[in-house]
């Protein structure tokens, strides 16, 4: 088990380094910098800006500096300043020193904000949306799949699988506008756009109060985003459970005289959920990228919209920071999923 963990962890590091390198290379490989506008700035201004943002350092130096600032935590004895270069996401006092981590640099498009400011304002909303979409997909997908498997070839099975095919075939960009029109414009049951919470956030990302006032904005986006994933989970749960109940140990359990409910919940269910865990990795990735379009469709003030506009504005630090952050999150999620899978299924540890 230890070897497996170390190996997956090393993969994670390699992937993060490769992602950061490719992102950096592409961003700086584009001819013209972030200061080339259609109306050209005077060369003295460009020179000062380049110095200020360290854009005239050799490329390798910029890359190493960037990695050092974002990835490596440090202890400093100087107190935090208000400078744009000095904004760390995680920064607190530990005894006489400060522990600081994750400085993504200043935003180049907006002169008074850092990337971390953008993250603090927009990431919580995206995180809330992601968490709710994940819950929706698990809460809808798993019971549906289990029911379909236990009542195979009945109406429950067909209805569940019909919903699954629907969820897989209808992507967010189709379901989103249809939901917005149907429930927002035509029936007027739910607000078509907007979000119910504002900064400051509890623990960094939780909304300050959770009432219908908050959830009514979140229902449609979460369902639109979560339905596709719930369909995949439902299908997989059903197939897996169908296979599990045909195993010999289930037959033994029944032969022992156990109540059918006990057989299913105590023996079959846990083993059939293992394949579902393996799909959680790609599912996270799908949810994260899905938040981009969901936020655009439902007008939610999250990272997705900001990211897309920063691409048009060629705001390097935000683009790099967002991609790096999302990539690290996905890689971490994959690592956790792999470890959980190895924990649940001992056969995989000796791979």
């Amino acid at each position: 088990m230890g070897r497996y963990v170390i190996r997956r962890f090393l993969y994670m590091l390699v992937v993060v380094l490769v992602v950061s390198f490719i992102t950096f290379a592409l961003m700086h490989g584009v001819p013209g910098g972030p200061f080339s506008r259609e109306k050209a700035l005077p060369p003295e201004t460009i020179k000062i800006l380049n110095e200020r943002y360290h854009l005239d350092d050799p490329l390798w130096r910029q890359y190493v500096d960037y990695l050092y600032n974002t990835m490596i935590p440090r202890f400093t004895t100087t107190p935090p300043t208000n400078s744009l270069m000095d904004d760390f996401l995680i920064s607190f006092k530990v005894g006489p020193a400060w522990f600081r981590w994750m400085n993504f640099g200043p935003s180049m498009h907006s002169r008074s904000r850092t990337v971390n400011d953008v993250f603090r304002a927009n990431l919580p909303v995206s995180a809330q949306l992601g968490v709710m979409a994940l819950s929706v997909s698990l809460v809808i997908g798993m019971p549906l799949g289990i029911l379909a498997a236990l009542r195979q070839n009945t109406a429950y099975d067909y209805a569940g699988m019909a919903l699954a095919i629907f969820g897989v075939s209808v992507p967010v960009i189709v379901l989103g506008p249809v939901l917005v029109w149907l429930f927002g414009v035509y029936l007027k049951w739910l607000p078509p756009t907007g979000w119910g919470s504002k900064p400051p956030y509890v623990l960094g990302f939780l909304p300050s109060h959770l009432g219908w006032d908050y959830f009514r904005f979140a229902v449609m986006p979460s369902v639109a985003l979560g339905l596709g994933s719930s369909a995949i989970i439902a299908r997989l749960t059903r197939a897996s459970l169908l296979q599990t109940v045909r195993e010999d140990y289930i037959r033994t359990a029944r032969a022992k005289g156990l109540h059918e409910r006990t057989v299913i919940t105590k023996h079959a269910l846990k083993n059939s959920l293992i394949p579902v865990v393996t799909i959680l990795g790609p599912l996270f990735a799908a949810l994260v990228t899905g938040t981009f379009v969901t936020e655009l469709i439902f007008g939610i003030p999250g990272m997705g919209k900001y990211f897309v506009t920063s691409i048009t504005n060629r705001d390097y630090p935000i683009i790099m920071g967002t991609i790096l952050l999302y990539a690290v999150f996905l890689v971490l999620a994959n690592l956790l999923v792999d470890l959980t899978y190895a924990y649940l299924d001992p056969r995989i540890r000796y791979d």
Binding site: L26, S36, W181, I311
Partner: protein
């Protein structure tokens, strides 16, 4: 195994000396027979064939241009649309020239959907092509030679698999679509940009999808090759002196093609969805090439006032994905070895 044995006289004669004939079915015939019985799959197949015909003959079917903007005609709707969306009655301007209505700059929605179908269908066919070619070759080499070669190749695939591929595609598209600056003439980047422009913005989408699609196919192929490699007919081919390449492509490959095709067909809705997603956020095909994703994005902006502009391309996308999903599911059930001989 992959050969068809047509009517063969059996050495055992039947009653009255009439020779008993044996007709054995190949894998493909068996699968085809079961596929045809699956009504949903047949319906999906018919829809796809219809779409291919419509997109090939697009210039005969969609008579209006998909890119010419006729501003005085913006947002016009035909009469039948008002009975479907009665909320538009107070402000809609009627015009019978446009079968599905006009979009916000006066382009015919029907033409755009038809030509947008070209984009989606070409992605649906080129994606699997790249994936099959690259992935199958990679997986075959890895699985066939085994040992260290296999180890290294699969480690590379593992690392690439953990990559957040869609983010990477977005980054790549942003890089190659930089509008604010000019790429200098002699560089390869310039040549690629020109190629992309000629193809209406499709080239980088193909590259992007191809870069992320081959990994699953490589893993699957490798697994299949590993399981087939030890079989007797491979050993027999080896004995009579067949070289590696011949064994790989003439003996092993035809026998593993079934699951590969099924898997690839089931991946097609994902490719279509990726292209629509990219076009939705503005990083897909370059305008004026229409794409259903871009049309949905434009339509979402006016969904309160003219919902038809979002709903029609959304319907087209949904129907296409349904069709490929049904076909893929039908193929998977048809090739399922557990069901062989039971229907």
């Amino acid at each position: 195994m992959a050969q068809t044995q047509a009517l063969q006289p059996s050495p055992l004669g039947g009653a009255g000396g009439i020779p008993l004939t044996q007709k054995r079915e190949s894998l493909w015939q068996d699968a085809l027979r079961r596929l045809v019985r699956n009504r949903a799959a047949v319906m999906g197949g018919v829809i796809i064939v219809l779409m291919i015909i419509v997109t090939i003959f697009a210039d005969k079917i969609a008579l209006k241009s998909f890119e010419v903007q006729v501003l005085p005609d913006q947002n016009k709707v035909p009469q039948w649309l008002l009975s479907v969306f009665p909320s538009m009655k107070p402000y809609a301007v009627l015009s019978e020239d446009y079968p599905l209505g006009a979009d916000y700059v006066g382009r015919d929605l029907f033409s755009r959907i038809v030509y947008g179908g070209r984009v989606s269908l070409s992605v649906a066919f080129i994606g699997p092509l790249i994936s099959l070619i690259v992935g199958v070759i990679y997986g075959s080499i890895s699985g066939y030679f085994g040992g260290r070669v296999d180890n290294i190749m699969m480690r590379i695939v593992d690392v690439l698999y953990a990559f957040p591929s869609l983010l990477f595609i977005i980054l790549m598209m942003a890089f190659f679509r930089s509008t604010l600056t000019e790429i200098p003439e002699g560089t390869p980047a310039y040549a690629l940009s020109q190629l992309d422009h000629k193809l209406g913005g499709m080239f980088f989408i193909f590259v992007g999808i191809g870069l992320t699609a081959w990994e699953t196919m490589a893993r699957l192929t490798r697994g299949q090759v590993l399981s087939v490699r030890e079989k007797e007919f491979v050993e027999a081919a080896h004995t009579i002196g067949a070289g590696h390449l011949r064994i790989m492509f003439k003996h092993i490959l035809p026998n593993i093609l079934g699951p590969l095709i099924v898997n690839e067909t089931l991946a097609i809705p994902g490719y279509i969805s990726t292209e629509a997603f990219l076009s939705f956020i503005g990083l897909g095909v370059t305008p004026p090439t229409p794409s259903w994703g871009a049309m949905i994005s434009d339509g979402s902006a006016v969904v309160r006032t003219y919902p038809s502009q979002a709903i029609f391309p959304a319907l087209a996308l949904a129907i296409t994905m349904f069709a490929f999903n049904f076909l893929g599911d039908g193929l998977r059930d048809a090739f399922d070895p557990r069901l062989r001989g039971t229907q």
